[in-house]
Amino acid sequence: MSDPKLKVRIATCSLAGCFGCHMSVLDIDERLLGLLELIEFDRTPLTDIKHCGPCDVGIVEGGVCNAENVHVLKEFRKNCKVLVAIGACAITGGIPAMRNNIDLWDCFQEVYQYEGGLEGGQVPNDPELPLPFDKVHPINEVVKVDYFLPGCPPSGDAIWRFLTDLLNGREPKLDYEMLHYD
């Protein structure tokens, strides 16, 4: 693993999420420096690379709420040997999926027509805007997911353990303490 050419390439992204899981990645703290000896980043919010290239590991935060999410997710699946769903939203839909009980038209009206201070009261229809699904879905309903890393967000320690297990060729295993949240 010390050969720099053999670094493990990792891509990350946040779909319908809050970037909280990404923030939790930063909670790995000083261990990040050691980690960077072993890995390199492809597309992530840190590198500002726009499209994911061939990678070893893809880590996806957030559920699938619109058409763009699907394109990103499929690109990840196509390019990543191992795909990981990180956090409650990617695994179950999470907080964004709370809108699943509300009709999409009611949502749009509430946001764009009833909310004060908006000019015109029109539902935006610019093709550049990602088109929302009528419901928010966990990512495993759209692509095959290899690992689920639970938590809201998973702790830095859990993420550290998960990545080091993967990097060392072990089946990732989280202790009970890393999986209970109260």
Binding site: A67, E68, L104, P124, D134, K144
Partner: protein, 609 residues
């Protein structure tokens, strides 16, 4: 629907509360009565009931939330619940439900605007031999077809009280097609008790032991062992023995008539036409273990039998077969009380049933301790199946040797089978144990049989290659359900129906079952709607392993059986439905954008997938 005024509510509640007293074990019975009267449990009623029984409000809410026949929101004045077993579906239930909903302008699962009617599904109501079936305000409707639904729609529109509907709609027949010693021979009420009194309790237990009778609810535990454990157990509190009114150690006899396993209806017939045999068996059990009180836990779906059964109990009391000093035997007191369930399959599990008898949510207990030592209210309790008690009465009357001579080495006596599905003559068949499936299928006129679901969804799916297998604890144990599928049936739909059943009936206590049954249902729906892949079949197997090995009780550990059996024996019924071998999304991606396309008026390249 209008909320009842609080004075109205008090008028409804007062007699109900007075009738059931202040024992919190009556909570479920009270709630049933309130639901019947108000078509829901109003928030204010919850307050008053909690105060009356001196229990926390959440306890009452918890019980209301648990049972599917109870609700905090109003259901229709006419609440029509279609039995959703696979046999009802095979008889056209889905189309009939839609037909009625269209006719009455009501959406399934919703209450009509005027509060008059609600239409929905419910788990199997135990009328598989005369389906499609339904419940109207708790009363069974059978043999439904469009003509009958036309009539029913008319009766509802004219707001005729259910009590005044034509009796032919409610006709339930026994359909006894084959009899043996249990159903076929005459029985004189009291005959078994007389034998017990002449022989003595100890000798009767010896006869039970010799008969080698095993529990008829499916698990097959030896009844004599259960009775002797209970007899040996004593409940103590602070060092002193808890006694009944007669001064004897308190013990209970419970008859499990929560016949919830889809496809089973033998207990319905036993209670309808052979109730004396069942009650007599309970009385025999009471004498052997030394119990003075018994319960019949009757599933809510069989509520229509209540008055008839109360009548039988009354007659038996008058004949000196129940009550104090039974048949003149000083000190032999025993009586039976009927408790009604409210739509929860899990209450067929004995410890959940006891919880329900105590008026609580039907949540299975940790075992051990087993009910024989710590049962109803912590006292030693025997819980046996309806058919087990009926057999016990026969054994007490005719002896253990007589009984043991029938059947096979490990499965003595006879077994009642409830046969439904693709057969010419559905109904109740009594066979000595050891009969082959082939023989049964011949007798009931099965047409081109391809598979049989033995012992319901929690049992075994048997393929046509295995029709020489036998009904016996050594080979195919069964609680009695026997659903036959012909070659042209889609067995995937059967497995999917069972997956939905378990997801609905999981009590929610343990995570493997609560979540596992939901995931199972989702995957079956994904495959059923044409989005399935090989990955999903693998996922079902993995889930099945978790359910089997991690669940708290038998519901969870058997909830994967239909899927695992079908995957093993009929993989082609899955493969035919798969969209591709690689992964496929669980839903139609482009279709899920349609709503937003319509709202925004967009049709550009990015608005499609």
């Amino acid at each position: 629907m209008q909320q009842p005024e609080s004075s109205d509510l008090s008028r409804i509640l007062a007699p109900v509360l007075a009738r059931h007293g202040k024992d919190s074990a009556q909570l479920l019975q009270i709630l049933r009565d309130v639901q019947d009267a108000c078509h829901h449990i109003p928030a204010e009623a919850i307050d008053q009931i909690a105060a009356h029984l001196d229990v926390p409000r959440v306890t009452v809410e918890g019980v209301v939330g648990f049972y599917s026949f109870l609700s905090t929101q109003p259901v229709g004045q006419y609440r029509l619940l279609f039995s959703n077993n696979i046999t009802d579906q095979m008889l056209g239930k889905d189309d009939l439900l839609k037909y009625l909903c269209n006719k009455l302008w009501v959406e399934q699962g919703r209450v009509s605007e005027d509060g008059l009617i609600s239409v929905d599904n419910t788990s199997c109501t135990g009328m598989c031999d005369q389906g499609p079936a339904a419940l109207i305000n708790g009363w069974p409707l059978t043999n439904l077809d469009q003509n009958r639904l036309d009539l029913i729609a008319e009766l509802i529109r004219s707001q005729k009280p259910v009590a005044e509907w034509p009796p032919m709609l409610f006709e339930v027949v026994d359909n006894i097609c084959r009899t043996d010693v249990l159903l076929g021979e005459p029985f004189t009420p009291g005959a078994a008790i007389k034998q017990v009194l002449a022989r003595g309790a100890k000798e009767t237990l010896a006869e039970m032991d010799q008969s080698n009778l095993r529990g008829r609810g499916g698990a097959g535990f030896k009844t004599a062992s259960k009775w002797s454990f209970c007899h040996a157990a004593i409940a103590e509190e602070e060092g002193s023995v808890i006694c009944d009114i007669g001064g004897n150690p308190e013990r209970f006899i419970v008859c499990n008539a929560d016949e919830g396993e889809p496809g089973t209806f033998k207990d319905r017939v036993l209670l309808n036409s052979h109730a004396d045999l069942v009650f007599e068996g309970m009385t025999v059990g009471a004498r052997v273990v030394g119990a003075s009180k018994g319960f019949l836990y009757l599933r809510g779906e069989y509520r229509y039998l209540l008055e008839k059964l109360e009548g039988v109990l009354k007659r038996r009391r008058e004949a000196g077969l129940l009550g104090d000093n039974i048949l003149g035997q000083a000190g032999f007191s025993f009586d039976i009380e009927i408790h009604l369930g409210a739509g929860a399959y899990i209450c067929g599990e004995e410890s959940a049933l006891i919880e329900s008898l105590e008026g609580k949510r039907g949540r299975p207990r940790n075992r051990p301790p087993f009910p024989v030592t710590h049962g109803y209210k912590g006292r030693p309790t025997v819980v046996d199946n309806v058919e087990t008690f009926a057999c016990s009465a026969r054994i007490a009357e005719k002896g253990g040797e007589w009984f043991a001579a029938m059947g096979t080495a490990q499965s003595t006596g006879t077994k009642l089978l409830s046969i439904s599905g693709d057969v010419a003559r559905p109904g109740i068949y009594e066979y000595p144990f050891g009969v082959t499936l082939r023989q049964i299928l011949d007798d009931c006129g099965a047409e081109d049989p391809y598979a049989v679901q033995v012992s319901g969804p929690s049992g075994v799916m048997v393929s046509w290659k295995e029709f020489d297998r036998k009904i016996a604890f050594e080979d195919l144990p069964t609680a009695g359900a026997f659903m036959v599928f012909k070659r042209s049936r889609d067995l995937f739909q059967a497995a999917r129906n069972f997956a939905h059943f378990f997801a609905h009936e999981s009590c929610g206590f343990c995570t493997p079952c609560r979540v596992g049954t939901q995931l199972q249902k989702k995957i079956m729906d994904k495959i059923g709607s044409g989005h399935g892949t090989i990955c999903d079949m693998e996922e079902l197997k993995r889930l099945g392993f978790i359910l089997k090995s991690m669940s708290h009780c038998g519901l969870g550990s058997s909830a994967a059986n239909p899927m695992l059996d079908a995957l093993e024996k009929f993989p082609d019924v899955f493969e035919r439905k798969l969209k591709a071998l690689a992964f496929e999304p669980a839903f139609d991606l482009d279709g899920a954008l349609e709503t937003a396309r319509r709202i925004t008026g967009r049709d550009d390249e990015w608005a499609h997938l």
